[in-house]
């Protein structure tokens, strides 16, 4: 995966990802059209499909709404990289097939070009020419991601495989 960075800070909560008022819909394009509405009004115009969101601690804290990772995925975000994730956001992202990557201290800048290899657990900042190790995704979750999310996973397997 290759794409451009959209950089944010710590504690980006789910209300900032997708305001609660817009979540009562099953239409993912509708969700995508309100992504980051309170946090970064220009995001939707600046972003191109395949880009990455890079953030600090506790990304996705707050309400458990699955619409948050769905909105990001529907908007074309290829993966979210953060120092840490709120637990439910992390689960939801894996379950809907949006890769989430935990990274240690870094100096990735807004607009930089990134390349991510999930299987190898490596992230390269091509602009700064630096490679970072990232936390490897546990096997169960990687299997779910590989199938494109929990829906296709269970459709295929019928039950959890461990």
């Amino acid at each position: 995966m290759k794409g451009k960075v959209h950089l944010y800070g710590d504690h980006v909560d789910t209300d900032q990802i997708i305001p609660g008022a817009y979540t009562k819909t099953l239409d993912v394009d509708e969700l995508a059209s309100h992504v980051f509405e309170y946090l970064d009004t220009d995001f939707r115009t600046r972003m191109t499909s395949g880009d990455f969101v890079v953030a600090g601690e506790d990304f996705g804290c707050g309400s458990s709404r699955e619409q948050a990772p769905l909105a990001l995925k529907a908007a074309g975000v290829a993966a979210v990289v953060a120092s840490s994730f709120a637990r439910i956001f992390y689960r939801n992202a894996i379950n809907i097939g949006l890769p989430v990557v935990e990274i240690g201290p870094h100096d990735i800048e807004n607009g930089s070009e990134l390349e991510i290899d999930l299987e190898a657990g490596a992230l390269t900042d091509r602009t700064a020419q630096r490679t970072y190790p990232v936390t490897k995704i546990p096997a169960v979750m990687l299997d779910i991601l590989r199938e494109g999310g929990l829906v296709p996973y269970l459709k295929k397997h019928g039950d959890y495989q461990l």
Binding site: P19, G20, E66
Partner: protein
């Protein structure tokens, strides 16, 4: 092998001893989804192949987040839930029954020692009765509807020992706000919290739910309250943590000098003693939510407002946590007292908590609320400011129109009860 309460419950369910950080597949006892998450879960369930539910009697759906529906769109999502419940034979609590978490506990869908998963982040509230409970998203819930199982990383446990006696005028909400302030939004991330100690032994079930529900505001996966002192209207087998259990951390707080706490905009962990923000003008006050919308919460507000009227520039909105709560409050005259003081009652349910309908504040408005979250935009308007406090503080603030310590407006000679 010595285990924490959470490790014990999960080991019993998995059928072998489990250890922190291990990823396991856990069979559960019951699952829950609200109108905020059920529509997606139903769709995902159908996409997974549909068919029969794992156990219809253990799948609980609740219409509470936008109830009654504010528009045709949401009304149609509610219809979808009713149709699904009817077809699959699962239990649905419709408009007005109450907030999902309250409904789950009141109707015994969750019991001590069980594993219960809800598609809502405050599902951790069931730790109040000594269950392991955590929140997941809709797709996870769909998988649970189908399999009765979920994948889980066993959380390490943080033990929080609360010593001393709670001073008069402080309640469970002050305790949990204080702890959220101390630990911060991610202080317990990926971990479970065990609350114990003499300061909380005397808490009612309602107070224990207040405590457990806000565990998620510290990032915790679950929050379980020591069963010592727990009273339930039925016989139960509590699960005790082993004395030698290994904890990721043991934190001790002496609460004998606790004062009313308040969380300031725009994050639940921006907690200060009330006196720091005393006098701040507010225009909207809200009592309700799964954290503080129960009978004793309404009663505490009534004790402050009895025979008085709220400030003319304030609107006080009350959403009882359930119909049962509302009925009790009616019977005991609490509704009358509050209504005569100028409060407006709305449908039992989430009400203004999440900003999807009813009671959205205007720009620049300042709100005091008994809820659990005050992120920017939480109540539906990013230009409003939300303070979180106990129901008594919300009531005293509605009375005076500025943030007020109830101790200063209560007649100290008159004893409640």
């Amino acid at each position: 092998m010595s285990q924490t309460a959470v490790e014990k419950i999960l080991s019993q369910h998995v059928g072998k001893p489990v250890h922190p950080d291990e990823v396991v597949i856990v069979p559960v006892d019951a699952i829950m989804a609200s109108d905020a998450t059920a529509p997606y879960a139903i769709r995902a369930f159908e996409e997974m192949g549909g068919g029969e539910l794992w156990r219809p009697d253990k799948v609980i759906l609740v219409i509470d987040h936008a109830a009654p529906a504010p528009n045709q769109h949401i009304s149609n999502l509610h219809r979808m839930m009713r149709k699904f419940a009817q077809e699959k034979g699962c239990r649905l609590y419709d408009v007005g029954a109450g907030i999902c978490h309250q409904v789950m506990v009141e109707n015994r869908h969750v019991q001590p020692g069980e594993v219960v998963i809800g598609a809502d982040s405050h599902s951790c509230a069931y730790g109040a009765v000594g269950a392991f409970a955590t929140g997941v998203g809709s797709t996870d819930l769909a998988a649970l509807m189908r399999t009765g199982k979920t994948w889980l990383k066993i959380p390490p446990t943080i033990r929080i020992e609360l010593t001393g006696r709670l001073p008069a005028g402080t309640v469970a909400k002050d305790v949990i706000l204080f702890l959220v302030g101390q630990l911060g939004l991610s202080g317990a991330s990926y971990q479970a919290i065990e609350y114990t100690g003499e300061a909380i032994d005397g808490l009612t079930l309602a107070g224990r739910m207040t405590l457990a529900s806000m565990s998620v505001e510290m990032g915790a996966k679950a929050g379980i309250v020591d069963p010592r002192g727990l009273e339930l209207p039925y016989r139960f087998e509590p699960v005790w943590a082993d004395k030698q259990a290994h904890y990721a951390q043991v934190l001790r707080f002496d609460l004998s000098n606790l004062s009313p706490q308040i969380s300031t905009p725009h994050s639940p962990d921006h907690v200060v003693p009330l006196e720091d923000v005393q006098g701040t003008r507010v225009t909207m006050a809200f009592i309700g939510t799964c954290t503080n919308g129960r009978f004793e919460d309404l009663q505490a507000a009534a004790a402050v407002l009895k025979g008085r009227s709220i400030a003319p520039h304030v609107r006080l909105i009350i959403a009882p946590a359930s119909r049962e709560v509302f009925n009790q409050a009616l019977q005991e005259g609490v509704v009358e007292t509050l209504s005569q003081a100028g409060a407006t009652f709305i449908t039992p349910g989430c009400g203004p908590c999440v900003g999807t309908h009813l009671g959205v504040p205007g720009d620049e408005e300042v709100v005091i609320s008994s809820a659990n979250r005050n992120f920017r935009g939480r109540m539906g308007n990013p230009n409003a400011r939300i303070y979180l406090a106990s129901p008594a503080v919300v009531a005293a603030t509605a009375l005076c129109g500025v943030i007020t310590d109830p101790g200063q407006v209560m007649d100290t000679k008159a004893s409640p009860s």
